[in-house]
């Protein structure tokens, strides 16, 4: 029994049972399949997270985001006059996280590629783009750059899904995707 020392003193010489051998083999092979699926997806899949990231001072990141907003703001929304920024397709677009907003609102064109930059000015935040469901962690001091291609038109919410203090549940941003 499992609560007593093994009765057979030299238990390590006992032969294995067939069902056990088969299951260990199947399970091991399945592990390989899952392992190589991740690698395979890097070559053939379309959804892979970028490894491009830089160290950055929050002030510098804020400046860059503001510079982009200044250049490309097309209108403002809500009573807080949040700028809606429509940058050129194919370019670098910035969104910043801070207590408790995603800034600015981005307007992107469907089917176009963008280099999206994300960083936080204070604590950690979670970039959760809904309903398409892309979730990325946003750190202060790190600027992540990923290439995204919106494939549906409409309004998408950017929910903060990393707990960031008492205003966490009010931290929602927006990405608008328009047809060209």
């Amino acid at each position: 029994m499992a609560i007593f020392p093994p009765e057979n003193r030299v238990w390590w010489n006992e032969p294995l049972h067939r069902p056990e051998i088969i299951w260990i083999t199947v399970a091991f092979l399945w592990g390989l399949v899952m392992f190589f699926t991740m690698i395979y997806w890097h070559f053939s899949g379309q959804q892979n997270l970028s490894n491009e990231a830089y160290r950055i001072f929050p002030e510098v990141y804020a400046e860059r985001t503001e510079a982009m907003a200044e250049k490309y703001t097309v209108r403002t929304e809500t009573n807080l006059d949040i700028p809606v920024v429509h940058p050129k397709p194919g370019t670098d677009v910035y969104m910043l996280a801070r207590l408790w907003e995603w800034w600015p609102i981005l307007e992107l064109e469907k089917g176009q590629e963008y280099r999206l930059h994300l960083s936080s000015l204070d604590w950690q935040h979670g970039f959760s783009l809904q309903p398409t469901n892309i979730n990325v962690q946003v750190h202060p001091g790190y600027e992540m750059v990923m290439t995204i291609t919106p494939t549906q038109a409409g309004e998408f919410g950017v929910v903060c899904n990393e707990f960031c203090g008492i205003g966490h549940h009010t931290m929602v941003g927006k990405i608008i995707v328009v047809d060209k």
């Binding site: 049972h17 399945w30 946003v138 992540m144």
Partner: protein, 564 residues
Amino acid sequence: MANELFRICPDTGFKIDRNAEKLIKANAVVAIVFLAVGGLFGLLVALTRWPAVHLLPAEWFYLALTAHGADVLLFWIVFFEIAMLYFTSSVLLNCRLATPKLAWGAFWLMLLGAVIANVAVLQGESSVMFTSYVPMQAAPHFYLGLILFAVGALVAVFIFFGTLVTAREERTYQGSVPLVTFGAITAAIIAVFTLASGAIILVPTFLWSLGLIGDIDPVTYKIVWWAMGHSSQQINVSVHVAIWYAIAAMLLGAKPLSEKVSRFAFLMYIMFLQLASAHHLLVEPGISSEWKIFNTSYALYLAVLGSLIHGMSVPGAIEAAQRRRGFTSGMFEWLRKAPWGNPAFSGMFMSLVFFGFIGGISGVVLGTEQLNIIMHNTLYVPGHFHGTVVAGTTLAFMAITYLVVPLIFRRDIILPGLARWQPYLFGIGVAGISLFMMGAGTLGVSRRHWDMTFTDAAIGFEYPPAAFLMMGLNGIFAIMAAVGGLAFVVVIVGSVLFGTRRDDAYSKAHPVLPPAGAVAVSTYGNEEALKIPGTIMLVTIFFAAFVLYYFVNWKYLSEVWPLS
């Protein structure tokens, strides 16, 4: 030498060190107190996340969630594990506990730490979640409490090792240690690594909260914190797997199909689980994909392989034992005729099934590099780990408690009717909250979030209606789980205080363990062909579900906006 130090257990024949016995009792009782407190916070959290109820105000919600995480995941689980370490070393090896005085010191230190951390959280300045990601800052005594707790636990782990050495020197057992003790050794080795990581990260964080040192890098913090946080989940797995084997042995006389395979599976945990910190860093900036893939898969899924092996050996051992008893008709007579009315068995078997089907499968899916993009920080995450650490670990701990009370506390279980139903209430309730949180998470709903309607937000967003339904169902099953949890506390505390005392004569007349199946099963296997068709069927169903669900999630991922 049945002197003062030891008593002979009338049920099992083990020679029990009275010091160890007292320490097991103390640690188990405190564990259950934290389960009760933490479980209550869990219920409050779940009722707040039920949109139609939305119980607590925001500040209280985040406070309750922090307290829930700390009380159940750290304090309940670790106190109980310390009790199990003393049990598997001192009791199962018939050995005196090394340095009982120090063990009491460890106990009080852990308790002090846990109380300090709770006070810090309840004061309201430390609602940072139990993960306390920097640069968000809690009050210094929050970190201090956790550090004291971890140091106490580390001391207790070393007392476990000391006891093993003593047992070896004093030759209190023959041959190799029992499999259950071997599992506990696995857990203890991982615990050393884990608690060391905890110290490495929490000590500087404490100093930082006092203003003594400058910034802590948030990504580094996470890497080291999760070297503690995730690897410590593997302590839980090792311990609850050991408990599965223990309960199967004690109630049914089940013997591992093969010692070699089961021990090797435990060893795989030690060899590969330390890499698991990666599970929490799959969508963090600045970490290479190579690092992520290698570590998140525990080097080709070798630690997962360990669990998959136990997933066959445990039910296989039960089936083989039952068949020896004569339950041989059809594929599943052995399972149908198992002691389902005994909460130790029903709890153990549900723990096995739910841990595999819910916690295990979802864990592998969640830990797949790219799939994490569609799940990170959604409710899928708590859904997954309520399948592992609640339906798996907690339920297994509850199950063994039904044996610990009569054998160690030497009291009969009171309210047997309630006790009989308790594992079902709790187990099915928790399976429900796991599945519904996973469902809501698949629909994108954020974890650790007070208001899924975003009423106070400047920019609104609406989750799909199905997500609201999921959260309502989650609330209902949370109530069921809470009732099950309460029933556990009532039955166990009641039994410890008021249960009929089991002195030697009474124990002989009313044995806890059925007359040894041990004899019946002592030498099956190996030479003869092993017949476990029912287990093979269960494993096949499990495997099919696993493969299917895995690829369904890749399908979901492929529908997401392209990113690179």
